[in-house]
């Protein structure tokens, strides 16, 4: 009796130890990022000072009060949110179709959808650029340097992921539920909205969140397909690595600012993450 409870306690202590160490490892780089962001340039090389006691506010104030930077933030917010919304809705529709209809070659379509995420992005920046500047144009208006352009481009790597995630969840919903609702006189749309959507809600939440994070964090396409109006915050971050002073302090501050919204987001929704990430693979 006592020995099992002792073992249980030991297990608990070991678990605690493990997680405390992990937490330290996880937080250390982030803490250091913060410490650097709070230092003026002359203090940077003072590594021995591990505990940050001073706070050099200009690192934060300069970007935050800069109208250009504010525009980057707003762009990032709009692009990430619109993209996540669009991707979630499309993924639900697509996976519903893939899962409930007998479409010719649906497995191949599914695989092709996924391959879209695999391309090394660098070489694809040039075709995208040409498409945006030459093909997608209406008179003077081109898709280059617009937020709608970025929203659509991010679908290329977010949609496959979302479809992958939702497909498993869709497949996991018993077909009998559809049929029961249909017998009760519901049409397809109602089945989707009333029966399917509530059941996929956790998965949908995680799809939305991960798409949002990926879109918020993307750099290469944001850098090469925008110029002034639609720039996002990650490109702003890269701008601080410049001649005459990699502005380490400011760069760290911008990195903190760029991370914060995603962080808050994570804390609010984190309980959905575990519920939604099953890929539907384990069927109950």
């Amino acid at each position: 009796m006592t020995s099992t409870s002792f073992r249980k306690n030991l297990g608990l202590i070991a678990t605690y130890a493990l997680w405390i160490i992990l937490t330290v490892i996880t937080l250390l780089p982030i803490y250091w990022l913060f410490a650097i962001s709070a230092r003026s340039r002359v203090e940077l090389f003072d590594v021995g000072n591990f505990i940050q006691t001073t706070f050099y506010a200009p690192n934060y104030l300069e970007p935050l009060t800069d109208p250009v930077f504010q525009r980057y933030l707003i762009n990032s917010l709009i692009v990430a949110t619109s993209n996540a919304l669009l991707v979630s809705v499309l993924a639900v529709l697509a996976t519903y179709a893939l899962s409930r209809w007998k479409l010719a070659g649906s497995n191949n379509i599914f695989f092709w959808l996924i391959t879209n995420r695999m391309a090394p992005p660098a070489a694809f920046a040039l075709p995208m650029f040409l498409l945006f500047t030459r093909v997608f144009r209406i008179g003077q208006w081109t898709m280059f340097d617009t937020r709608i352009g970025l929203i659509l481009v991010y679908c290329v790597f977010n949609l496959p992921f979302a479809v992958w995630l939702m497909k498993g969840i869709m497949d996991g919903i018993p077909i009998e539920l559809d049929e029961a609702a249909r017998v009760d006189g519901a049409n397809r749309w109602t089945v989707l909205v009333r029966v399917i959507l509530p059941l996929t809600a956790p998965g949908l939440a995680i799809t939305f969140i991960l798409s949002w994070i990926f879109a918020w964090n993307e750099y290469l396409f944001a850098a090469s397909l925008t110029s002034v109006n639609a720039r996002t915050i990650t490109t702003g971050l890269a701008g601080y690595i410049s001649v005459t002073g990699t502005e380490w302090g400011q760069m760290a501050a911008v990195a903190m600012i760029a991370t914060l919204p995603a962080l808050i987001f994570l804390i609010f929704i984190q309980r959905y993450i575990v519920m939604g990430l099953t890929f539907g693979a384990v069927k109950e």
């Binding site: 982030i30 250091w32 695999m118 090394p120 993450i273 890929f279």
Partner: protein
């Protein structure tokens, strides 16, 4: 017939967007991979090159070395993340006070932009004002300088990737383990199977779909890693961390060798698709076995 049309209708927006944004650029890349096109060339024109770009590619030892390094990096990163993630997820199965806090903190790196992750780790490891070199030297007398020592740089990028992506694996594993039915395991324990046997013959087979899916997703992303490593080492020292993503970036942008860069991209895409397809087939096999058993 009519209902099939509805099905295609639901799928259509996805297919159109990916067709325009994914397939079209792919076809264009395929097209220019058969041309010599370099802003800096003597002629400056786009010239038909046949398969010359690919011919050049298979003899380009620097590129093939880079591809090999990327595969090694992917293998090591994905394996470590998988093992770590599985272990961590199993400790999270039972309740203990503070679990939610730990889990949330653990998931933090997941939301940080790759480019910011690179910046964070650079600040951590840069000699001069980085934390790691300073304290490693002070406490353990280790000369840690990722600008200078190839192995250190390689393992630092590995550590960075593990730090960044293990939480993702932990969460998928946790989701899988939570959703898994408990009865077979309890039954097996009653029947006298030990912990290891339960893990080996019950948990892992049942988790296989989740594991394969996670490997699939991590593999795709690890093979095309650019931002983090670019910020951290720029691909150095020497060639140590010049993974294909960075290699292609250098060929396409500073060298403006569009044709050759496209050929490289296609080769990498080819490798990824083949690997992914094999995994996909494996996943289908696992699925069939499960449904038939």
């Amino acid at each position: 017939m009519d209902s099939n049309r509805t099905g295609w209708g639901l799928l259509a927006p996805t297919l159109i967007i990916l067709g325009v944004m994914g397939l079209l650029p792919f076809l264009y890349v395929l097209y220019i991979s058969f041309f010599d096109w370099n802003v800096f060339s003597a002629s400056g024109q786009m010239e038909w090159a046949g398969v010359n770009n690919f011919r050049r590619l298979v003899f380009d030892s620097a590129f093939l070395g880079s591809l090999g390094r990327t595969l090694l990096f992917t293998l090591l990163a994905v394996t470590s993340e998988l093992i770590l993630g599985f272990l961590l997820a199993s400790t999270l199965l039972r309740d203990f006070p503070g679990k939610i806090v730990f889990r949330t903190i653990h998931a933090l790196p997941l939301v940080i932009a790759p480019i910011a992750v690179g910046a964070t780790w650079r600040l951590l490891t840069i000699p001069g004002f980085g934390l790691a070199p300073y304290y490693l030297d002070r406490w353990f007398d280790i000369d840690y300088n990722i600008g200078r020592y190839a192995e250190q740089a390689f393992f630092t990028t590995l550590a960075m990737d593990i730090w960044h992506w293990t939480p993702f694996v932990t969460l998928t594993m946790l989701a899988g383990l939570t959703a898994m039915p408990k009865e077979p395991q309890e039954q097996a324990r009653v029947d006298g199977a030990n912990r290891w046997q339960v893990l080996r013959f019950l948990t892992i087979p049942m988790m296989m779909p989740v594991i394969v899916t996670t490997v699939f997703i991590r593999m795709m992303d690890a093979l095309r890693i650019v931002d983090e490593v670019f910020m951290l080492t720029g691909g150095g020292p020497g060639n140590a961390t010049r993974y294909v993503g960075i290699y292609i970036w250098r060929v396409v942008f500073p060298q403006t060798d569009y044709g050759y860069g496209s050929a490289m991209s296609l080769l990498v895409l080819y490798f990824t698709i083949v690997l992914a397809w094999l995994l996909f087939v494996a996943l289908a096999q696992v699925g069939n076995q499960q449904s038939s058993s």
